[in-house]
Amino acid sequence: MNNKNIQLNKEGRLRHFLDIEGIKRQLLVEILDAAESFSSVEAQRVKKVPLLRGKTIVNLFFEPSTRTRNTFELAAKRLSADTLNVNISASATSKGESLLDMLHNLEAMHCDMFVVRHAQSGAAHFIAQHVAPHISVINAGDGSHAHPTQAMLDMFTIRRHKQAFADLKVAIVGDILHSRVARSQIHALTTLGVTEVRVIGPKTLIPDISTALGVHVYHDMWEGLREVDVVIMLRLQKERMTGALLPSEHEYYKLYGLTPEKLAVAKEDAIVMHPGPINRGVEISSEVADGPQSVILEQVSNGIAVRMAVMSILMGQSFSSDGEAGP
């Protein structure tokens, strides 16, 4: 893994957060611990800490996303940073201004952090390689590659329910091939030391080589869900039907949709997760999505604390709940 350490500075501290792969367990745990202390901030009446006062954070979204952008923006605001949202449609960049020109323009406005979402895998790496040295980059999703803050909020949610990672069996169901969320989850789960990560889906969405990621591949969902502690459902993109990857939503739901019957083969206390937005009746039934084992909405609120944690760690600010909590 040459140059993967672009994420770390000389002291081995996080400088950018681009990818879970290549980050040690200790740093991941540090993020989870920091998120734990920030989650108490959210419970307070005044939900703001002055950790990043005077810092400017730019949300640079080359792909439409309201949900992820909103949680990043809220996280920045609760840390007292100034935020700027820049939404760039793909057509605008192709019209002339190159990606690098745009970055250098924003740099000239003295920004401290870029939160980047882009449709191309490796885009956040590319930006991190070319920004001025004082700027940190957070990958908020690049193509099919990585979505590290989503994976960390999922880990945070799992830890809250299951305490230790060591004995867990986790199943991820759906389109692994195209999912940046799944890749980051797999790296996070294996780094944090879970017993077994399973991926469930047809070969068109889970190529045979996936085992190289350290996962067990199941094409039969009934078999794959047996005795698991955590079920992570992935969103199925509609365009997978047109690409001859799947015959129909109907058949997909029949084989890989999470229903109460299928969930029953998992452990009794298994939790059900989904990065959202959910397609009811495509990958998950409403009974399960709204049922007692679902932690889907919790994931959303945990997203803010985890993003606050990552932002403050990148800016070199630590925080403890019994220290300088709140203004």
Binding site: N3, L99, Q120, S121, R183, L213
Partner: protein, 431 residues
């Protein structure tokens, strides 16, 4: 003009020569090897002691970017780079703008190359009009205008009937086809090898089957039509295996491999290095080893540069949005010699892959230094170490993953038709 190349070690694989022999050139031809012809008074003596003297290199695929993409390179700049690389003949694919599908464009390319007078440029004509894969081009007329082979560049001929007709037509006039086997559907949207690295990086893959399926489709049509086909830039071990069998079966086929495929693998992509973005993609170490084995046993007959110079902006983008290709003329020799150092090829085999091998594909009378042959000569220092530096690159494109590599083997002189087309700057004072 009479030139004596003195004291060098002559390696001429086509003639089985591998010895210290002087070379006497006169009137653009080889006048004698070893013994001076009676009354030979050289106008110029080149001291080649400690150096290898061999035929000028023949490169089966190099893009010059002219006409149409002069911001990436020109015939002037790229033939300069070729001469620096020891190349005296190169074949340029038809995907210029306009496409080489009329005699006028074919002639334009050759005339511009003649003006530059550094390298013999052999245009490859379009197999189908505008490379659209539908209408056959005027192959015979294009051949009369200097096209040495026909290709659809990296654009597909989807319709198998059109491909069959093109092959039948070429076969009836003994014309050569040069095809890059890649199934366009299997390769669609892909930019890296479909494998573990691509999966980890989240980049769309081009599977091995993109190459083997198309190779097999073409081979079946070769069997039926008898067309002579050269496959350019194979990238998979499985394709080498299929080709080995096809040659055993007596089909009139040959193939080459691009120099970078012999040294880089998908592992070189791990930091999203856009300089390693090439099509066909870098594959696994096992593929690389099979390609090397294919060279050793003669299944692959040549090493090509697959030169594709780019402007800087073409590579300054997230990986999949960057343009594929390497500026490769100036590293063709050292990357080939590296195979000698690594014990893959003998020196003679390595030089054959750059001279007699590719020359035999295009029925070119160059590629050897027998008496009466055209005096296209490369002289290189096999021991000299050097680093590729963007500042001194002659190509307009500096897009190469080999910048900063410790390269061994440096061209000191290149002669085209018995005239110096390149001389290493430090050698100029000495001669």
């Amino acid at each position: 003009m009479k030139i004596l190349i003195q004291g060098g070690h002559l390696v001429d694989p086509a003639n089985g020569v591998d010895a210290q022999l002087d070379l006497f050139l006169e009137g653009g031809l080889v006048a004698s090897v070893g013994e001076a012809p009676a009354g030979f008074e050289p106008d110029q003596v080149i001291d080649a002691s400690g150096q290898i003297v061999c035929p000028g290199f023949v490169d089966l695929q190099a893009r010059l970017r002219e006409p149409g993409q002069e911001h990436k390179g020109s015939i002037d700049s790229e033939t300069r780079a070729a001469a620096r690389g020891g190349i005296t003949t190169l074949c340029c694919p038809p995907d210029t703008s306009p496409v080489i599908d009329t005699p006028a464009v074919a002639k334009l390319v050759q005339e511009r190359a003649d003006q530059a007078a550094r390298v013999r440029v052999a245009p490859i004509g379009a197999l189908t009009t505008a490379l659209e894969g539908e209408q056959l081009s005027e192959m015979v007329t294009l051949a009369e205008a200097g096209c040495i082979a026909f290709s659809n560049a990296d654009l597909p001929v989807h319709n198998t009937l059109v491909l069959r007709r093109a092959m039948e037509y070429a076969a009836s006039h003994s014309l050569l086809l040069m095809l890059q086997p890649q199934d366009a559907w299997l390769a669609a949207k892909g930019c890296v090898h479909e494998g573990v690295v691509g999966l980890r990086l989240g980049l769309s893959g081009i599977p091995e089957s993109a190459e083997t399926v198309e190779l097999s489709r073409i081979l079946m049509l070769v069997e039926q039509t008898g067309a002579r086909v050269h496959f350019g830039q194979l990238s998979t071990g499985r394709a080498v295996q299929i080709l080995r069998q096809a040659k055993r079966d007596g089909l009139p086929v040959s193939a080459d491999v691009a120099a970078h495929q012999l040294h880089l693998t998908e592992m070189d992509l791990l930091d999203y290095s856009s300089d390693c973005h090439v099509i066909p993609p870098l594959r696994t170490q096992r593929d690389r080893d099979s390609l090397r084995e294919g060279l050793r046993d003669g299944t692959l007959i040549a090493i090509s540069s697959d030169h594709q110079p780019h402007d800087a902006d073409a590579k300054l983008a997230p990986f999949a949005e960057s343009e594929p290709g390497i500026s490769a003329l100036e590293t063709l020799l050292p990357l080939t010699l590296r195979l000698v150092d690594e014990g893959v090829l003998s020196l003679e085999q390595a030089i054959a892959c750059l001279t007699s091998g590719p020359a035999s594909v295009i029925d070119n009378h160059n590629g050897h230094l027998g008496v009466g042959a055209r005096a296209d000569v490369c002289i290189f220092d096999p021991q000299q170490h050097w680093r590729l530096d963007a500042q001194t690159m002659q190509s307009a494109g500096h897009n190469t993953p080999f910048l900063g590599w410790d390269l061994k083997g440096r061209v000191t002189h290149t002669l085209l038709n018995g005239r110096l087309s390149y001389q290493e700057p430090s050698k100029k004072a000495e001669d």
